[in-house]
Symmetry: D2
Subunit: 306 residues, 4 copies
């Protein structure tokens, strides 16, 4: 397996078309587009990595998987009264669908949906408390207390919040948010500004590959049914309006972030994290997707057949 | 396994909320809503059934899986220049997306996309020839030469073709169809009017569960990669704007038809066909979905974890 | 007044940017873009013209004013149950609004609305009879029995009918049309293929400028209220999604056609017809609009102030 | 003329279906739905009123006519680079069109457009200064220094700003606003919270009826061309997605406010202000529209013919 990852890292290093690094905030724009990392955590407890797999990067929207997990733990199916679970067919920051459907976001992974999930887990608490809880959870499932928020990134996102503020105020106008818009956004941007390495991320996602049980600690994070359902949401909506493309090419539940990371889940096998900062036109890591495609070809771990 | 199917059939027989039988053509409206059937064909060659599993019904949109398979065989990836592969987020007969995207349908399973696929496989031939080819293929993969078109259903669909005619003319206006609109529609309605039983349908779909190889005959229908890709499309788009819901509840690639049938694929395990004529608000079989949900709970065959 | 028209004709002859002649059918594509004509018919019975004002051209969508007048005469306000009277904000051939609003077109001047109006006036008759009635009406209000359909244009439109066929089948699917789609379209394309000169057109439109009374014959065509209402519809919707621009620049009720003609109404003053085949990006005559803008500057006949 | 207004006031007093008073902020919800007023200011300098024509009410969106006038005075046609001038076909607070058209609002009278106009006139100044300028202008054209903002209404609007905040942040994200969103909104809500009586409003609007000249003072406010253009915008967009209906029934340029007021302009004749707090389903005064319809029937002042 280590050979597979090494081969992928070599192939990706040779790629010249590396996509476009996100540039809407300076903190992301300055990331080196040559970076590449891939890590695998298997359900048997093995760990494999290639590339700069211990370098932390901004996980951005990948964090939505973790807040969704927390929200389902707190509220269960009540969450679905304010968030849908269908692919949106629209870009991650589209507001059109909100207007057509009474301010209810299509799924928890488009920005509007993730903001609604943050509002749901706040439950009257201050951003600080909610963020502490979130960080504890991420450190717990990654089994690593060194994981932190990047406050500079969060502050920069807040300063460029207009598109997301538009989504949040829109939902607030329809009674879909209970907390102050700026507090929800502040929490949301910190959540997105969690910095993790591929090694940490693969470890953190492993419970989704092993029916809800964290490995090798063998502690249950969620029920098997909930793990399946989160995986289904990642498959259907994890790459916004390119989710079909990811399913077609890779065939694994996955969640991308604008920082260039992707977390993919191979149920019964393991969790794979990749990182390459350059994005495709849909805002998903160009080489990250390519690396996962290659990984699945080598391993036969697609959920759709060997 | 037979016990599982029997249990499901008993549970479904006891359901009083059975959905609404499609009534836009009289031929479908007259089907008995009490009917229920389920069949499983496994990759090892076993066959299990419960309910009226040898009664033919109108497979309708399930046929889109078979024409897609033929089209990919004829054209390969060239097909994707005129059809996308993303979930649409819209109902099966929506035209809004077509106008926003230059007449190119989002995926091959919404009506517009399926009509474009039919146009692609016609390749200058007359409807009669194309239909003969289609029927041969379906009989071949089902290993059953008794399968036929229901010409009464096809004629009735043609008489009520306005919504689909609107889609077809729209695509034609954008140069997305090469053949005469009425000929394409005539072919399309015959395709949808194939009558099959659950036993036949499960058999016909088995190649998708076994990496492209028809069982027990062991004849390759498509490559493993193509089988995976068709499965991914069924997962992402097979239930229109309720595909997310199906993935969330059932967790298998599936394709529904307005006749009340659903074909679901459990990669590496088998193909399952269910039939219950009553539909939910999205046009998918109400009890068919429920039966599949129960089946996956019993078998643990979800692609997203046991 | 003759001097004003002469000055306008001279100015337009000097223009080098003349727009793009409609080219979706060959019959329109071959019209000479250098052609220009303007005619004025005043409520006092005076007639003024400049340019090739006796050359017939395809009036296309200008005809929608005449069929609307006939429809209101036959059905009165019952017409509005199947056609709205609001600006659409969309291009003339958009279908998006139809899907969002149950197949009911926003107004009688977008293509969908005009097709619904044609269906309304057919009242069970054959296209031939409806067309005879329409031609009689146009000849009557233009006081000129030489006006004819251009059957070659009509046949060519029919052969390129896909976009309009899509609209018609969509409305038919929602029960908005009572007649056979192809018969309605055949009638519609003949209506659009009426050939008239600017002199004939100005004369034909005069009843709208003089409270519903045809001049100089002094015969009432419609009530004063109906004339006002038709004018309001021309103002609000007569130039599709550039109606605001026309109101801003010209300030008169007007209806354009893709043949390059525009009929404008100055209530209490007269009817003005212009013709220049080159179109702007919205499908309205580029120089025709410019000529009318100049005309209103010279005469002060804007309805919005001198 | 006084008899006409008296007759209208009597007729409106007798109406039992009075619409629904706006209730999104308590300050508007508490207004007595029985109130009715109508005032006419003629270009000859005459004044007529009936009902409680000296009672101030919240003019709300009618104020958009005045800020548009100021903006055109400051920037001229440069304003149109960030605001369109077409009917939107959507409700006053819709955001869909913004997403489809790069954050550029369709016209200056929908909320998004009016917010963009406020941003345009701020020109780097603080809200206080901009508001002082606006109030001076309104007092000047109404010739009445007693006109004031209702700060309670403005504060309440600010507290319920989510829908408008969504629009503003969306435009800000597309670079359409130059100032801080909350400052722009604070200014906008104060603008809408101007309290005026029908007498004051008719007087203030008179320059639009008399080619830009304030009467009886004979001082030019805008050029004749600008007056015409503002009138055209009121006609095309002044009643949001019911502008066509207003043109059809009333036939005058008009601008409504959610406080129940309407300002209508009869070019060359006079300005008419009406007030009745109950609204129709589009957010326009139900009896205000009815009163204007009756007024035009009696006077024959429709711009579309007598």
């Amino acid at each position: 397996m280590q050979d597979v990852l090494n081969e992928i890292a070599r192939a990706m290093a040779a790629e010249t078309e590396r996509g476009k690094v996100a540039d809407y905030i300076p903190e992301l724009a300055h990331v080196d587009p040559q970076k590449f990392a891939i890590s695998l955590a298997t359900v048997e407890g093995a760990r494999y990595s290639a590339g700069c797999a211990t370098t932390p990067f901004s996980i951005q929207s990948i964090s939505k998987v973790f807040t969704l997990t927390i929200a389902l733990g707190k509220m269960g199916d009540a969450l679905w009264s304010n968030v849908g679970r269908e692919p949106s067919g629209d870009p991650f920051n589209s507001i059109v669908q909100l207007e057509h459907e009474g301010g209810k976001p299509r799924n928890p992974f488009i920005n509007a949906g993730a903001i609604a999930v943050v509002d749901a887990i706040m439950m009257g608490h201050e951003p600080k408390e909610t963020l502490a809880e979130l960080l504890s959870f991420v450190r717990y499932i990654a089994d690593d207390d060194s994981i932190c928020f990047d406050h500079t990134v969060a502050a920069s996102e807040m300063a460029h919040r207009d598109r997301n503020a538009s989504l949040a105020h829109f939902m607030k106008a329809f009674g879909r948010l209970r907390h102050d818009v700026d507090k929800v956004l502040g929490t949301y941007f910190h959540q997105c500004a969690i910095a993790m390495s591929c090694q940490q991320l693969a470890h953190a996602g492993l419970f989704l590959a092993s029916d809800g049980v964290n490995q090798p600690s063998n502690i249950r994070v969620v029920s098997p049914q909930r793990a399946r359902r989160i995986n289904s949401l990642m498959m259907m909506c994890g790459h916004y309006d390119a989710s079909g493309e990811f399913a077609f090419r890779v065939g694994l539940p996955g969640k991308s972030g604008v920082g260039g990371g992707i977390l993919a889940i191979a149920p019964g096998q393991g969790a794979i994290a990749v990182w390459s900062p350059g994005l495709d036109e849909y805002g998903n890591s160009l080489l990250g997707t390519k690396a996962l495609e290659m990984f699945v070809q080598r391993t036969g771990w697609s959920v759709f057949g060997h």
